[in-house]
Symmetry: C2
Subunit: 444 residues, 2 copies
């Protein structure tokens, strides 16, 4: 058989592979998220990667339409790859409304695809990890959404982070009281640029696009200035929105969030009210939450969400309000790496059983299985190579412990249990291998 | 704003949604697989859904090429959606050979897409769940591959299943001894139809396509007849392949498998040697394993794999032998449902905390969090509805326990802990809610 030309192995631009050193920590983050979501009563769903283009375009903005991978399938259908998990959720809830019952609490983790410009370090394929409560307007669900995010970040190992919470009603109330209505979107878009272009230019833009007066612009720009303890910010908001229905309703929700988190034992400094959060307000109708790492504020929000009135009116006449949030898995993993929260190397099986005596293959196999039955993750090296090569392998893979049984040890019924971190070894009886390994694994 | 036309919510033909009742059990199967794979030292990887068509077509057969979803991406590249996880593995290992080191043990779980005919109940999107050991020819890895499959099926809750093991060398040896060479593929294709069309027609086909004689056909057809205990089959094989190198090498591997599984404590009847397994032999070069459920033999193999000499010669000059298997997740879930191995309803949080006293929202919230901190999964109903509606919800969601705290109980510092299976309730002190819930959850 003549050898065909070698095809160069490569991935598409904007796509990437996950080697174990990246896939392991990502899997761990998703496991923790799953565990936390479940513990609050969220259940998993999944939807196809491909949907009718009509479905995907129904709800998305112009931006996401442009980024969508679209093609005609072999059956002549116009199809697209999902670009988020929110549009599929809306379609899903509309399709099964009668069957799933309300409230409906779901989480959904899976890849999404966007053919966007990759120059800003963005990828064209990434994992989303969302949870939502659909079909209730209860403030309890607002508070629990925030509590889920707090619990998740604690469980992920972050020590210093802040949930920043705002409510759409506050801004709506202030704008109404200032006599500005109908240009809320323009105001928000300008306000969102505050950090980037400064208050003067924001005021200019608001005057130009939303037609506000100097006094109104000043009033709006005063909002992000309101800072301080939760009680102080709530008091300031109270004065601002007094007498306005939307504003007072928003304040009431924020007060419930404040009290709820306190009763649930969340430390005061883990959550702050922040009226400068404007971006999400364009889509959300109630609370908005963003999550910042105190040690890495520059990377932006790692988990964002909020309440919306109407999830799926494109697909159903049923009004479906909801509240939820989305974990920024990629951003979070980058942060965890920077903060040293990811174990240097990842191995599912922390113990390497060296294969030393060539004729003892079956005995090593049985010993490995014996140790696994004691609850240890054990990898058996498959070839009787030199010990040095096997220990190098263990080092590379990030094994924590090596168990070495040479000819002498087989005869004596013992084993060397080697701490791969400091290189020390101890000889133990065969029956004591599990406890010796477990003692080493328990060390930090 | 005028209301736009409603878009009918629907999925593409051949695609499906997973509601919690399906997504939950699937997630559980994947978790167990992950756990077992890890405990043997396999680590996760991931690769993109999209690859260059050139890459995907490099290794796949004509069949998979035809089924591939292909299109031109916005950058004008010819791309396709992966149709299995083996081609991406081959590309991956070739691409990172220098970086990952050998042996390389990986698992990979993810969706694949095939635009095939959906009439046979097949879907165009399904999960694959593979593990492989690359870069070693060690028989130890062959034995461990079979041991992983055994451990996995035990952990999934199957009581009665059989791993059926064959080796390519046996058939090669028998054919060589019978003077048949070069038409092995034709012989295998015919032999694979044995159950369907019977021995006479298989003999006819072999004579027509592979040009074998009557005597040769009889010799080949005698192979699947060899049945009995493992020792008996090994003895019969010994006679068949005596003096033939390939055959004797295959026998040696099967003997190691026999002894290894026995030493590892696998019961005799969980693994059998079966020379009728022909299908996989076309691709594999060493052992082949298929896994059948004794109670549902008709559904076919739920986990198949084997050893191959050469994973990635399309993408690299490096010779990469390996051994691995792939779990048939969909088939397995269907079987588990049929055998009653899936809990009737799935809820991540087994405890529902009813919301009874409208003014106590924050107290319920705090109590729910208190119970979660005791390690319980607790869903708080978000609205102060009638208890009957909440219990109906709990029933539908599959909660196991309801905790009910009415006005009286708040005053007394107690709670009703309700067993949702038999409807009985007990009143316990607030501090005793966790232990009362845990006692109920521990019941089978």
């Amino acid at each position: 058989m003549s050898k065909a030309k070698i095809i160069q192995p490569r991935t598409l631009k904007g796509f990437r592979d996950y080697l174990p050193a990246q896939a392991g920590p990502r899997e761990r983050v998703l496991e923790i998220a799953r565990d936390v979501y479940r513990s609050f009563g969220f259940n998993p769903i999944d939807t196809p990667a491909l949907e009718y283009t009509e479905i995907l375009k129904g709800k998305g903005g112009e931006e996401s339409d442009k980024q969508m991978y679209q093609f005609t399938d072999p059956g002549g259908r116009d199809v697209g790859m999902r670009f988020d998990l929110t549009v599929p959720l809306a379609r899903f809830v509309a399709q099964y409304a009668g069957q799933i019952g309300m409230p409906f609490k779901r989480y959904h983790m899976g890849p999404v695809w966007r053919g966007e410009n990759t120059q800003r370090g963005r990828y064209r394929e990434f994992i989303q990890c969302d949870f939502d409560t659909i079909g209730t307007q209860s403030t309890i669900s607002d508070v629990e959404t925030i509590l889920v995010v707090y619990t998740l970040f604690k469980r992920l190992g972050f020590e210093r982070f802040t949930l920043r919470v705002n409510h759409r009603g506050i801004l709506a109330g202030v704008l109404e009281k200032a006599g500005i209505e109908g240009q809320v979107g323009d105001v928000l878009r300008a306000l969102d640029k505050l950090a980037k272009i400064g208050p003067e230019k924001v005021a200019e833009e608001m005057k130009a696009t939303a037609g506000v007066s100097d006094a109104q612009a000043a009033e709006i720009l005063a909002l992000p200035q309101i800072q301080g303890s939760r009680a102080e910010v709530l008091a300031s908001i109270g004065q601002l929105v007094a007498g306005n229905e939307a504003g007072e309703k928003g304040l009431e929700v924020l007060k419930a969030v404040d009290e709820g988190l306190r009763l649930a034992g969340v430390p005061e400094d883990a959550m702050a009210f922040d009226l400068s959060i404007a971006r999400g307000l364009d889509y959300y109708t109630g609370i908005v939450v963003e999550t910042f790492l105190d040690d890495l504020p520059g990377i932006g929000s790692c988990c964002s969400g909020g309440r919306y009135d109407d999830l799926a009116s494109v697909y159903t006449k049923q009004l479906l309000p909801g509240v939820g949030a989305s974990l920024g898995v990629d951003r979070l993993l980058a942060a965890m790496e920077e903060l040293g929260l990811i174990e240097e190397s990842f191995s599912g099986a922390p113990v390497l059983l060296a294969y030393f005596e060539k004729t003892r293959g079956q005995d090593y196999l049985a010993l490995a299985q014996e140790l696994r039955e004691q609850g240890l993750g054990v990898e058996l090296y498959p070839d009787a190579k030199k010990l040095g090569a096997q220990l190098k392998y263990a080092d590379r893979r990030g094994h924590r412990v090596a168990v070495i049984v040479g000819g002498d040890e087989w005869d004596k019924g013992t084993a060397q249990v080697k701490d791969l971190r400091d290189g020390t070894s101890q000889e133990v009886a065969r029956a004591d291998i599990p406890s010796a390994c477990k003692a080493l694994l328990a060390q930090q």
